[in-house]
């Protein structure tokens, strides 16, 4: 009983491999290519390795002159971890929470707006659609940093600077997300299907929620992921908008630590460097986990805009 499915998959796999081989009669030398891939991985992973190794060191170990690509005698993860989360009254945990809040609220908001607008532009021939689309394409090219200074001055006049909204509101604007949704919705949601739903008596919004949304799922996950990453990684906007360090996201917080540590020189702030290193490592873990677990969603989706 239990043998059959295994055999079946094995047979399936070998036949697939057979097809591969047939479509590729002249295999190029795989060994050199594999070595190239190995060297590339080494290059792309070396900074991570450096972080993992050096966040295990005490300040003395960090400055001690031992190899910077290998562990020092003492492994200090636990102490560094305690230092990291207790320094400045546990401000680091707060920064992580802020980053998560900004990324999730801003990212989800931007995605909802992009899905609605992208779908509307793709499926309704309303007056002004062509004009709106042309404006949208132009907006994709507007450098977002150019908006930060005037937005700051505007927000300052209504007292919004140095609040969480100063970071979340500007994140909602994602013209590229709208563009991606529009490109995807044009093909993924056939007009015939929507017409059929209308004939069956479904209203416009019901056919959007029940017919279109499920079909748009790959693009929705992609836009969500791109918006969340952009917001989590954002530095310029929160740096400008926020002055209260309890509102900082983790990027601005670590930047602050780094500039403090550099200003006072290596001697005066050795303890700060070890928590900066561990803090950097901890701050990259959430997104790495998100990318590894959501792999099958984003892999195809990232190419949406590039196939046309």
């Amino acid at each position: 009983m239990s043998v059959t499915p295994i055999e079946r998959t094995r047979a399936g796999r070998s036949s697939r491999r057979g097809i591969e081989r047939r479509s590729m009669p002249r295999k190029p030398g795989r060994v050199p290519l594999n070595i190239v891939l190995g060297l590339l991985m080494l290059y792309f992973l070396i900074p991570f390795w450096w972080l993992i190794v050096n966040s295990s060191k005490s300040s003395a170990g960090l400055f001690g002159g031992g190899s910077s690509l290998w562990f020092a005698g003492d492994i200090n993860y636990v102490q560094n971890f305690i230092d990291l989360f207790t320094y400045g009254g546990g401000i680091y945990a707060r920064w992580l929470a802020n980053s998560a809040l900004y990324a999730l609220v801003g990212g989800i908001g931007a995605t909802v707006l992009a899905v609605l607008a992208g779908y509307g532009l793709a499926k309704y021939s309303f007056a002004g659609r062509r004009f709106s689309f042309a404006i949208l394409l132009g907006a994709v090219m507007v450098p977002t940093t150019a908006l930060v200074i005037p937005t700051f001055v505007l927000f300052a006049q209504v007292g919004w600077t140095n609040t969480i909204w100063a970071v979340i509101f500007p994140t909602l604007l994602n013209p590229f997300g709208v563009y991606l949704m529009n490109v995807y919705a044009r093909d993924a949601v056939p007009d015939e299907l929507l017409d059929a739903a209308r004939v069956d008596g479904a209203g416009e919004f019901r056919s959007f929620f029940q017919v279109a949304l499920p079909l748009l799922r790959p693009a929705i996950v992609t836009v969500l992921l791109l918006s969340v990453v952009a917001s989590w990684n954002n530095y310029f906007l929160p740096l400008v908008m926020l002055s209260d360090n309890r509102l900082f996201p983790v990027t601005v917080g670590i930047g602050l630590w780094q500039s403090t540590a550099s200003t006072y020189g290596a001697a005066g702030s050795q303890s700060l460097w070890s928590i900066i290193v561990l803090g950097s490592l901890v701050s990259v873990i959430p997104l790495i986990i998100a990318f590894l677990t959501l792999q099958r969603y984003w892999r195809g989706g990232l190419a949406i805009g590039s196939l046309k």
Partner: protein, 308 residues
């Protein structure tokens, strides 16, 4: 009589259908439209307004029309910054395109679990905030923490200092390439997966080698994906801010406050509280981005594809 009635009814119905189409279309696009007006159109207009005034110690704020722009385009700080980001883009973009294209082509040929794993690892830096990426490489470059000194000493050489003013260009080049090559590679790879494999089959029957398939089939068909990446890389690089801002402390003296236009705008607006001139630089930078993107799009439209 009956004839006119019969023709009048459908037009009336059609008109009400388009009216409803208009309304629903705008209901979908509206929420994004409001955000777009409030956070893109309004700040741009406001930047333009701000940039037309000059604030001085004596005489207060006065209207100068394009006076600030005349000042900016003869201000060596701004012009050198613009020249730097243009020079940097001209080296960076071809480099990271070549790297990401080469990796994608290798991964398209080598289909093993090892290759799939390396694809994920090469993509990983995309999940890292640019602030943390710059910090990691800053550590790797530095005398205190980095392995470069050890490695070069083993060969009896003195290590290059990528944080010195003569090599900072290459130091930054490496950081940005490391950060984005994997993301671009994924986009190119996904586009490669979208190519119909029967094209390769046909080419092979005609006696094409692997190289010829790459040069004559794969790369030409990748043109849309490559163009998309180029435009985004260009827009991103001209706004260069995070990496030099973070490295400024570590690279003593190599990165002045007017290193890139965005850093200069930041300094003017937030260190000197000169929002008028800061907004002018932001707006002028946006204009430079538009001009560069359009020159690029025009140049590539003429050629059509990368093959001659």
């Amino acid at each position: 009589m009956t004839a006119t009635l019969a023709s009048a009814v459908p037009t009336k119905r059609r008109r009400s259908v388009t009216a409803r189409q208009n309304l629903t279309g705008w209901l979908f696009v509206g929420p994004f439209g409001i955000v777009f007006l409030a956070l893109l159109v309004l700040p741009i207009g406001f930047a333009l307004y701000l940039s037309m005034f000059q604030k001085s110690m004596i005489g207060g704020t006065k209207f100068v029309l394009f006076g600030n722009y005349l000042k900016a385009f003869s201000d060596p700080s701004f012009l050198d910054g613009v020249w730097f980001v243009i020079r940097f883009s001209l080296v960076l973009i071809p480099l990271q395109m070549a790297v990401s294209l080469a990796i994608a082509l290798i991964l398209d040929i080598v289909i093993t679990r090892y290759a799939r794993f390396s694809r994920l690892m090469i993509f990983l830096p995309y999940a890292i905030p640019t602030v943390i990426g710059a910090l990691m490489w800053g550590f790797l470059y530095s005398d205190n923490f980095g392995p470069l000194a050890e490695i070069f000493e083993a060969f009896g050489q003195s290590a290059p200092d990528f944080l010195s003013s003569s090599l900072i260009f290459y130091g930054l080049l490496n950081i940005v390439t490391w950060q984005w090559a994997g993301y671009y590679m994924i986009i190119i790879y996904a586009a490669l997966q979208g190519i119909d494999p029967t094209l390769y089959e046909a080419a092979r029957i005609d006696g094409a080698s692997q190289w010829q398939i790459v040069l004559r089939i794969k790369i030409p068909l990748l043109t849309p994906a490559l163009l998309l990446i180029l435009v985004f890389a260009l827009i991103g690089t001209l706004q260069f801010f995070n990496e030099p801002q973070i490295l400024q402390q570590l690279a003593a003296g190599a990165i002045p406050n007017d290193f890139t236009p965005n850093m200069y705008a930041y300094q003017q607006a937030f260190s000197l509280a000169n929002y008028n001139y800061g907004a002018t630089i932001s707006f002028a930078l946006a204009a430079v981005v538009f001009v560069c993107v359009y020159i690029f799009l025009f140049a590539t439209r003429k050629r059509g594809s990368f093959t001659s």
